[in-house]
């Protein structure tokens, strides 16, 4: 059994208005210079696979076909053995 931890964020070229709004709020907190806030999604999957390479391939497929839209989003993930 493997655990995939997936992070999805808007592509760098795409304005992230949610991130901008949060950045603005942070700016009012007076805790220093904090910039480039980007919001995203975190998704976990448990996978029955023969080995880590297979789990990575399966995760990649799910990300490409469903979890992320490549026109606007980037994804990266880690796979750990349970």
């Amino acid at each position: 059994m493997f655990l995939s931890k997936i992070t999805i964020t808007l592509r760098k070229s795409i304005l992230d208005p949610q991130g901008k709004a949060v950045e603005h709020a942070i700016g009012t907190m007076n805790i220093g210079n904090i910039r480039d806030v980007r919001m995203g999604k975190y998704i976990e999957l448990k996978i029955d696979a023969a080995d880590e390479a297979a789990a990575r391939t399966m995760t990649e497929q799910v990300c490409t076909k469903l979890l992320a839209n490549p026109i606007m989003e980037d994804f990266h993930f880690e796979v750990e053995k349970l």
Partner: protein, 249 residues
């Protein structure tokens, strides 16, 4: 055999979370006096529809991304096949989002630049009146139709935008009452004020505004009828020479 009495059969897809399906049904059936039928998302059967409408709403609660999950419904496999065979598909609001997620239309619909859900009447300029969806309009005509969405900010890469422009695939742009395409008239931050686009073949169109909410004379706004009237005229009069049939080989 040009029988103008033939009724066009509109198939309206019902996803869990669709909420403009009954509006579309009402307008097709009772206002436009055509046939209308609901198509359940689990049924892979389009019931011989002439035109498929993907209605507005919040299919699957807008989980993950708007339209991303609806795309995997059994009915969508048939809709994609129907569209690839030249069948006419109209996506309204959430339906537009489903069409881009399905790959039937280019681009994507991002969160509104204001981050707000925007629900109001807007003006749309008809950029291409030579389509199945807009033949009842005149080029440059300004329509008054409402929008109601949180994710209607159309985006695509510069190459695709250039292609959309040169192929006349941009059907509607947000504009002022006088028809000027300005930043102030853009309610959601859409690239180039785009409110509706069609595919290259011209048989699939998605638009964020709701023509079905501006069709019943009881509500005093009827500009939306022009989209439906265009489709009816296309289906009835164009039967002998469906361009999609000719192009397919």
């Amino acid at each position: 055999m040009s029988n103008s009495k033939r009724k066009v059969r509109f198939g309206i897809v019902v996803f869990p979370g669709s909420n403009c399906d009954h509006d579309a049904y009402h307008v097709c059936k009772h206002v436009m006096q055509q046939e209308a039928t609901f198509l359940w998302h689990k049924d892979a059967d389009l019931k011989n529809s002439d035109v498929i409408i993907l209605p507005g709403g919040f299919s699957y609660g807008d989980y993950l991304r708007c339209g991303a999950i609806a795309r995997f419904s059994p009915v969508m496999k048939e809709v994609v096949r129907f569209a690839n065979d030249g069948g006419t598909v109209l996506g309204i609001c959430n339906g537009f989002q489903i069409l881009v997620e399905s790959g039937l239309l280019p681009g994507v619909l991002l969160r509104n630049a204001s981050l707000r859900f925007v629900c109001k009447f807007v003006h749309l300029r008809v950029e291409n009146a030579n389509t199945q969806f807009t033949s009842a309009c005149t080029p440059g005509e300004v329509l008054h139709i409402p929008i109601a969405h949180g994710d209607g900010n159309y985006f695509t890469d510069p190459d695709t935008l250039a292609r959309l422009e040169s192929n006349n695939q941009i059907i509607f742009r947000y504009c002022t009452a006088e028809g000027a395409v300005t930043g102030e008239a853009n309610p959601n931050g859409s690239l180039a004020n785009i409110a509706g686009v069609m595919n290259e073949q011209g048989n699939v169109m998605g638009m964020m505004p709701h023509p079905e909410r501006a069709s019943d004379p009881l509500l005093r706004h009827t500009d939306g009828q022009k989209v439906l009237r265009s489709l009816i005229e296309y289906c009835v009069s164009g039967e002998a020479t469906l361009p999609a049939e000719v192009e397919r080989s």
